[in-house]
């Protein structure tokens, strides 16, 4: 679980207009180039995060209960407390830092991309030019100097907030209550339990899956445990079958060649 005084960001989908000021601010502060993309039938652009896009707004649309919906949600690193990227990294280059922030030590990273495969949010990416991975830093260089993250600073509608984890959690809970009182019965907070609790919390109006957010995530450690257990059983069963097959025929097999 995140600690009360950890750094945190709150994204409130009920205030977001999809203007993407945050997306641009992130590029500017972090000196990230634009990407040449092609229209693929949605205002969502670029179509995914990359080593040069650490934050983008995800646009979802369709029909729900005979009503058209068009929703926006944040797509960036969640700064997980049990982060799959951290646990999968063989070198420890991507790791938890002060205040629960997850960042990459680019002088130690070897570019094996195991973290890229492991992150359930597709939030960490390999840079061909640099040979290492990069992602959202939660603006560590700003927040550790008392400034707000660039994306939060730029938001014109009040959909983004930053502060300590305890403050953001409280703000999320208060907002949830007033949304429920206003009749949004499906409103919910996302990130309280995902991946051990994330340092970026979302207030959503509908079920997270309608925004394309993953639900029912399992932690890296339980995937690893299942994997080793299965491999152990496989080795026992298949190994035994092979050895038995050969030893039954040992005289024939071992006899000559």
């Amino acid at each position: 679980m995140p600690k009360a005084n950890d750094y945190a960001i709150l994204f409130d989908a009920s205030h977001c207009t999809g203007c993407r000021a945050c997306q641009v601010a992130c590029k500017q502060w972090n000196d990230l180039p634009g990407e040449a993309t092609e229209n693929w039938g949605s205002y969502e652009n670029p179509p995914s995060l990359s080593s040069e896009t650490w934050l983008r707004m995800k646009f979802t649309d369709g029909m729900l209960n005979n009503e058209v919906f068009w929703d926006f949600t944040r797509d960036a690193c969640m700064h997980c407390s049990s982060a799959a990227c951290v646990e999968s990294c063989p070198t420890g280059a991507v790791n938890y830092r002060e205040g629960g922030i997850v960042t990459v030590d680019q002088d130690w990273c070897i570019g094996c991309r195991n973290c890229v495969q492991a992150c359930p949010y597709d939030a960490i990416h390999f840079s061909e030019q640099m040979g290492v991975v990069q992602k959202c830093t939660l603006c560590y260089d700003r927040v550790s100097n008392g400034l707000e993250p660039a994306c939060v600073k730029s938001c014109p509608t009040g959909a983004l907030h930053s502060g300590t984890y305890a403050e953001m959690k409280k703000a999320a809970e208060e907002r949830l209550q007033s949304l429920k009182a206003a009749g949004y019965k499906d409103a919910n907070i996302y990130g309280l339990n995902e991946m051990g609790g994330t340092h970026v919390l979302y207030v959503l109006l509908k079920h997270p899956s309608t925004y394309g957010l993953p639900v029912g995530l399992s932690k890296e450690s339980s995937k690893v445990a299942t994997g080793w257990l299965s491999a152990g059983i496989a080795a026992a069963v298949l190994g035994f079958a092979g050895v038995k097959w050969l030893s039954d025929r040992r005289e024939e097999v071992g006899g000559g060649s």
């Binding site: 179509p47 799959a84 130690w108 094996c112 299942t226 040992r250 071992g254 060649s257």
Partner: protein, 255 residues
């Protein structure tokens, strides 16, 4: 590859390490020393070649030593790197020893088994539904290590007929496991499975099924050209790794 997907080097590495490792493990249950030494050589070559491919695939190959120096036991890849290095030492030791003490044979065998098995765990511990959706990848990789390992020994002319039989028996187990894995993961990994069955990976998947399993089985039944059948089994082992590695990433290899 854009976006940093795992590609051909990784598929080749899985294939070589498992093929050599499988040959060593199988040679251990045989009687004659010559085959055992051959098995140890094949495993060492497979593991060294695999490790070099792994390093060449890194974004910063000169930092390869961080793989061990990072000391991060919760990471499957860190553990894999350790067993890879230790198994290489064990095999080398066996090759230069006249006597094979039991403890050394056992330790090396377990390390080699871990090298083969960890590759399956590595893929399972990801966010890719086709790899993590079922617990069967370690089974498939182990079965395939036996299939390709015994076929490799056959190619080197050792105990051809019996080992060819073993190889084909494991090929049948392997293809059943692959079918079970695809059914098991289908609900979460439709794109991957469609790509394998009828999309741009169909050549690798059907190549594995037909060229890597069905044709060799037919040749075995006809008692024809065992060496050629064994060669096809090896090719099938590569196609299997190729389609599994790429199919797992079809959703993310987008731009």
């Amino acid at each position: 590859m854009k976006g940093g997907a795992w590609g051909i080097y990784i598929a080749l590495y899985f294939w070589l390490a498992a093929m050599g490792g499988g040959a060593f493990l199988i040679s251990l249950s045989l009687k004659d020393r010559g085959t055992k030494v051959l098995g140890a050589w094949l495993a060492l070559i497979g593991i060294v070649a695999g490790a070099l491919l792994l390093i060449a695939d890194l974004g910063e190959p000169m930092r390869f030593w961080h793989l061990l120096a990072g000391i991060h036991p919760v990471s499957v890849m860190w553990l894999g790197s350790v067993v890879l290095a230790l198994s290489g030492i064990g095999l080398f030791w066996l090759i230069i020893s006249k006597e094979w003490p039991d403890w050394l044979v056992w330790t090396t065998a377990i390390l080699v088994l871990l090298v083969v098995g960890y590759t399956g765990v590595l893929l399972m511990a990801t966010a890719r539904p086709f790899w993590s959706g079922s617990p069967l990848l370690p089974w498939i990789f182990l079965a395939s290590a036996y299939t390709t390992g015994s076929a490799l020994l056959v190619l080197f002319g050792s105990h051809s007929e019996k080992l060819a039989k073993l190889s084909f028996a494991f090929a049948v187990i392997e293809i059943l496991l692959v079918a079970a894995h695809m059914i098991w993961t289908y609900s979460g990994a439709k794109d991957a499975i469609t790509a394998a069955i009828s999309g741009n990976l169909a050549w690798a998947f059907w190549g594995f099924v037909v060229v890597g399993v069905l044709i060799p089985l037919y040749m075995e039944a006809q008692k024809k050209a065992l060496a050629l059948a064994a060669l096809l089994v090896l090719l099938g082992g590569f196609l299997l790794r190729y389609f599994i590695v790429y199919a797992g990433q079809v959703d993310v290899m987008r731009f």
